[in-house]
Symmetry: C2
Subunit: 233 residues, 2 copies
């Protein structure tokens, strides 16, 4: 169970497996297979089995996975059997969309504090939470023992605010600001930037100069540029 030797890319697929199991379970099914999961995900069954095998034996050859058991195990591995209090920094358009997002239910996360520095927003209620002034961010996060945050503020403030969050004890930052933030090694950051995701895809669909010069080869093998068409977070 010591996770030190497990590639981060494998870890990153576990939440996607968990989400897929939830989806399959909604249809009333109790058992699934790496084959069925792979169909939902565009990932090979062998890859799914290999990823899961890093963490133990969760199914039997020929009988598949008990969905509830595997979900429970994945929740344990990902640390979401508990519910984490999450602080949201920024109550602008992105922050409001996050607060209204209903996908957090049952995910292991609950937004319990929201901060902004705009006097017009402070004190307003969004999704039953009062917007707290930014100057009370550090003390509130410390009092509430919050370790997980979402950063939905302009790029120019992101690094400075991330540093204050780390000082307050935060260990995980989901960053919506379109800039990398640098944090100490014990803190984890994930960036969700639509531009990065879009440019990743246009790499594959844009006309390629070499193809334009060689239309016969392109016509013979139009799929040469694509490999795995599902690009995971």
């Amino acid at each position: 169970m010591a996770p030190s030797n497990i590639p981060d890319i494998v870890v990153g697929r576990l939440p996607i497996y968990l989400r897929t199991l939830a989806h399959i379970a909604r249809g009333g099914q109790e058992v699934t297979s790496s084959y069925e999961m792979g169909e939902h995900l565009g990932i090979s069954p062998a890859q799914i089995r290999k990823d899961l095998s890093h963490f133990g034996e969760f199914g039997k050859q020929g009988t598949g996975y008990n969905i509830e058991y595997l979900r429970e195990q994945l929740r344990r591995i990902l640390g979401v059997k508990q519910e984490w209090d999450v602080a949201l920094i920024g109550a602008g358009a992105v922050g409001k969309a996050i607060l209204r997002y209903d996908g957090f239910r049952g995910s292991g996360f609950r937004i319990t504090a929201v901060f902004d520095n705009d006097p017009n927003k402070i004190g307003c209620k969004i999704s039953q939470l009062d917007v707290i002034p930014a100057e009370r961010m550090t003390s509130t996060i410390q009092q509430m023992g919050i370790r997980v945050t979402m950063l939905a503020i302009p790029a120019e403030n992101a690094q400075r605010v991330a540093e204050r969050l780390v000082e307050a004890g935060v260990e995980a930052i989901l960053n919506y600001a379109p800039i990398n933030v640098i944090v100490p090694p014990h803190v984890y950051v994930q960036h969700l930037d639509p531009v990065v995701a879009l440019q990743h895809m246009t790499y594959y669909i844009a006309p390629k100069p070499t193809q334009a010069l060689n239309p016969i080869i392109s016509a013979l093998d139009p799929r040469e540029i694509g490999s795995d068409n599902i690009v995971h977070l």
Copy 2:
């Protein structure tokens, strides 16, 4: 230049390099290095040099990279020297936040059509765009020749709408719905799901059962669970 043999994980880092170069350039700098870029990104300079070397020679040993030249080359490689028209499906909270997001400027993408099936939204203007009824989605996308879309609709409709988009000629879908959508091999999908990103991080920060049982080893090597703390898209 044929991209068929370049790992997708390398491709996925190019937009992040492009964003970082824009950030460095904003300070007025004209030249940078893999070392400086690495400092901004938490990636080793050797990794950056190796990634870029897949696509050509962009700098000279000892003199670094000309920022404008490297940005231009990355834009070319990623297919964003042109500006792509993007259709947004869904004008709910997430869709509105996307429409108001100012990070698309200069990124190679411009949202030029927005669709919804809610009669209360149809015809409304959001960020200077009229919300178009969903039944005109296919015809409008075909008329405008749109190949890139953003999907900001509830999970239960995502697969069905994605299939309609593919039929209309769409080749890239940025999916905000918290579900995997399955598309033919020539279509690319990226998923932006905050729950997946958060669970990826709690894997690292949650107390580990083995550590709880063995507090002396944990105390000796508190960082054993962490490796690369910047987890990229």
